[in-house]
Symmetry: C2
Amino acid sequence: MKTYLDCIPCLFRQALEAARMAGVSEETQKKILDKVAEILPDFPLTSPPPEMARIIHEVVKKYTGVEDPYAEVKKKSNNLALSIYDKLKEKLQNSHQRLLTSIELAILGNILDYGVKNSLDVDKELEKILVEEKRVIETENNALFNYPQFQKAIDNARTILYLADNAGETVFDRILIEEIKNMDNNKNIIYAVKEKPAINDALIEYAYFCGIDKLAKIISSGSDAPGTVLSRCSKEFLKIFNKADLIISKGQGNYEALSSATGPIFFLLVAKCPVIARDIGCRVGDIILMSHTLNKKGGE
Amino acid sequence: MKTYLDCIPCLFRQALEAARMAGVSEETQKKILDKVAEILPDFPLTSPPPEMARIIHEVVKKYTGVEDPYAEVKKKSNNLALSIYDKLKEKLQNSHQRLLTSIELAILGNILDYGVKNSLDVDKELEKILVEEKRVIETENNALFNYPQFQKAIDNARTILYLADNAGETVFDRILIEEIKNMDNNKNIIYAVKEKPAINDALIEYAYFCGIDKLAKIISSGSDAPGTVLSRCSKEFLKIFNKADLIISKGQGNYEALSSATGPIFFLLVAKCPVIARDIGCRVGDIILMSHTLNKKGGE
């Protein structure tokens, strides 16, 4: 997805939030915004927003000296999400369509996103997910929630590359991966996280902490952008990306980075901002399970 | 009120919206954002946001060649607000506290603001105002809705300067001014609008169109900022400002411009953005009727 003009105010907002998360003075926060104002005009809008976000968060790191401004909130997200793991499993036990329910939960976990909102009440959001029942079913357009096609894609895939999004959300990913493994333990699942801190995106240690290692091979994409921007990924990762039978792409950042890429990709996300919603052709808040093919036809 | 760092992303958003309202190409929209990025770092944050907004909207005018991008929406706001004038009067007839109700309506009319929201469904907002009943009473902090003090100030004032905010809102101002004149026809009311287009702010012709001329003397403040920034006002206006027994300041822009000024000012507004809400010490959506004195103690 290209960077829309609406992304520009939002990128300033992100820079300010990250600067505050890093705990620096107002003066330094202002310097960061000024630097963003200086570099942003030269940024090509044909590049996806996570690429610009990466540059902005580099500025924040440089000016604040804080490598990972979201360290604390990510830790909290992981802990809180893990603390409701049993409840999520219980929800699954009571479901008559376990795969569908696990997909829904994996997508709903995508709400734990600091890139979109300035403040996020993780407890409250998790509470909402637990009482969430009919949200997915309410999505009217089946092409945007193409469960049958996704189910088939999982059935047919031997190697699945799972692109993680946010910390905490990893626990919800685990629920879906466990379900896929329950169906067929021979499936080879690779769980790819970011190489370095990028907003509140998941990192290798979180994937271990949330118990993904028992189910999938954990790798880094090599990228430190808050989205799998292929030009920033490692050769090793690209090899896996190009060979995978199915790519499960979680979240807005990965959608933004990969909506123009080729491959057997499914995008699983909550459309959290109006720009994404317009790009996809859905409403803000919609739960999306969309094949890449659809995006090629209906998207950008 | 100073310009907060949170205002910066919002000012970019405003520039983009105004550029779109002017109907220019994406390329020109981008040029406008780039220009804003160029000038914004030099803007002193000690100045109030309407001063920066003024500069930004000057850029928009220059790059688009459109003097008044909001001309159409302002016309629509005026017409729609006028079309419900009779219903507003009916609401007043049924009230046991006519002055209070007219104040509430005048404040609720402040919802018609394009400076805060990117899109505004005027019909819907007006509909909400008509069914609005308990909103004001729900405001917990009486200092932030100090009706007794305001009532007394009106009683004691001979010359009242009424600082208008948005187009359409003028009809709601008329309701309050009519009520004040009903109470005492000898009161001298001066209704001040902006000199030139500033977002969707009211102009002289709208004040006439909405029937203010039958009740008050209509003047321009001399300013083209979306708020009464005193340093940009005419000498004639400042003379009136300094001599008035009571100044009724409507809306966020005027609050931002005048919260540090001296004078017998009352601020009547809906707190529509988190920055204003924080500055005032209220919640977003609160209905504010606050004397300047309170602001001096509790504000900035």
